[in-house]
């Protein structure tokens, strides 16, 4: 997957957990909890689903990379490119 494909797929994944559903307001700089209103309790579910969807592993220290859409897409892209 190229980065754009990862971005599209990740936004789709996030939307299933976000109260903000309008794709047009979900940008690379959107914060999952503060901007997209993802329930903070469900944050870990997004990471688990990303692990399954992109065949990657997200360690405890990497979780901060998932706070912002663009950072998460970068992280997933790095891991899939280097896999």
């Amino acid at each position: 997957m190229n980065r754009a494909e990862i971005q599209k797929s990740f936004v789709e994944l996030v939307r299933a957990h976000a109260r903000i559903q309008d794709s047009s307001v979900i940008t690379e700089s959107s914060l999952l909890v503060d901007d997209l209103k993802v329930n903070s309790t469900r944050f870990v579910d997004i990471i688990l689903e990303a692990e399954d969807r992109f065949k990657i592993e997200v360690g405890d220290d990497d979780m901060k990379r998932f706070e912002r859409v663009g950072d998460a897409v970068d992280f997933i892209y790095e891991r899939t490119v280097n896999a």
């Binding site: 309790t41 469900r42 944050f43 870990v44 579910d45 688990l48």
Partner: protein, 422 residues
């Protein structure tokens, strides 16, 4: 000390979902028990259970995305609580509403998280996949999963808790809520109980051989309270939720009132005098009934109807003798008595609340539902037979006693009076 009234009810039962459907099912004597293939496949002795016919589609219309993070314990309670809330004339709050500081929730359960423990937590943990459990495993396995779920949906700010006293749980929740309002601690309490439909919840009872094993080919004949051929309980799941409210609060908002709770009491037989973890000390039951009457200021002769605990086990004749002793009324002179478990099985912790809803519906609509499958009445209590309706009866019952007993030798009784405008 204010009076306590019931202003709303909701029910998810094996034979019906919702008040109107439940009233009709009771009146028609419709059984909600069915053959459960999974119980046969897993080599249970009993292959019959009562599973509420709550569809995913219907549940989703109540819970929306919350569906993903709930189990049947929570779903039954949430659907019954939302129905109860609306039935009491209150509108559903949006998810960002102000907190309702004047409403509490006491929603009991006994085996609350067993379904999630059995299907998810135990197998995943044993397979070394703890990190894959996800965010909702803990909220589905904790004892207070249902009260927490309901409180979050409705934005309740009063005490939110889960009581647990085995099969006495539902009636105990109502007794506890009654005292909270009587003592002017809160205006309203959503009170009741819930229990999952899960083989993991029922396995221990099957192993104990207290489940019915002789009617696997005749599911609707399996629950046989008061009969000579009663051979054990039939497990079931479900929930019943009641809105208990101070009379002042109900009147101030013009709420419709179904019934008044005149009194109630909970106790334990201390596992003495024949009592044990699974059997009741007769003195405990007698004292519980008598103290309920005392609180309610009701004479035994004023009771019109008893909704018994009556499980379809060897305990039924013992319960009847205790009730007779407590009321000092001989069997042929007892109030009307029936067993809702003959229709919906034994909902365990959920039984007391589902059966309280059944009790109040009978008071309000002036009928008694049939106690099924006791044509061969138990010979030890044969004098009682004329007091047990075997077909639906029209009966202007006004004051009812609900009894519930549970493992641990615990007892809870509630006395309801039909509301007649004063």
């Amino acid at each position: 000390m204010d009076r306590v009234v019931i202003t709303g009810m909701g029910v998810v039962a094996p034979n019906a979902i919702g008040l109107d459907a439940f009233r009709i099912a009771l009146c028609q004597g419709r059984s909600g028990l069915a053959f459960v293939p999974q119980m046969k496949e897993l080599d249970f002795g009993c292959h019959v259970a009562g599973i509420p016919p709550l569809s995913e589609e219907s549940t989703e219309s109540y819970l929306g995305p919350l569906m993903r993070t709930t189990n049947s314990t929570m779903r039954y309670a949430a659907v019954a609580a939302i129905d109860c809330w609306r039935d009491s004339g209150l509108s559903m709050p949006p998810s960002d509403s102000a907190v309702d500081w004047n409403t509490a929730a006491i929603i009991g359960s006994s085996l609350a998280g067993m379904e999630t423990a059995g299907e998810l937590v135990v197998p995943e943990t044993n397979a070394g996949r703890v990190r894959k459990l996800g965010s909702s495993a803990i909220e589905r396995v904790m004892a207070s999963c249902a009260s927490a779920c309901v409180s979050g949906i409705l934005g309740l700010g009063g005490p939110t808790t889960t009581n647990s006293s085995a099969c006495g749980t539902g009636a105990e929740a109502i007794v506890n809520a009654y005292w909270m309002i009587r003592e002017d601690r809160i205006d309203r309490v959503l009170a009741g109980s819930t229990e999952p439909s899960s083989v993991y919840a029922w396995a221990g009872l099957d192993s104990l051989r207290v489940t019915m094993r002789k009617c696997n080919d005749r599911p609707q004949s399996a629950a046989r309270p008061l009969s000579a051929s009663a051979g054990g309980l039939v497990p079931s799941g479900g929930a019943g939720i009641l809105m208990l409210e101070s009379l002042a609060s109900a009147r101030s908002r013009g709420a419709r009132i179904y019934a008044e709770i005149l009194g109630g009491h909970s106790n334990s037989g201390g596992q003495r005098n024949g009592g044990s973890i699974t059997a009741a000390n007769p003195e405990g039951i007698v004292r519980c009934v008598q103290q309920s009457l005392e609180v309610a200021k009701v004479k035994p002769s004023e009771l019109d109807y008893i909704n018994g605990h009556l499980t379809g086990t060897a305990g039924d004749p013992k319960e009847i003798r205790c009730l007779s002793n407590a009321l000092d009324r001989r069997l042929g002179d007892m109030p009307w008595i029936n067993s809702t478990k003959s229709l919906i099985g034994h909902g365990l912790a959920a039984s007391g609340s589902m059966e309280s809803v059944a009790t109040i519906l009978q008071l309000v609509h002036g009928f008694l539902h049939p106690s099924l499958n006791c044509e061969d009445f138990h010979p030890e209590i044969s004098e009682l037979q004329p007091r047990v309706p075997q077909v639906s009866l029209s009966a202007p019952v006004r004051i009812a006693l609900k009894t519930s007993f549970g493992f641990g030798d615990v007892n809870s009784c509630v006395i309801f009076r039909r509301w007649d405008e004063e």
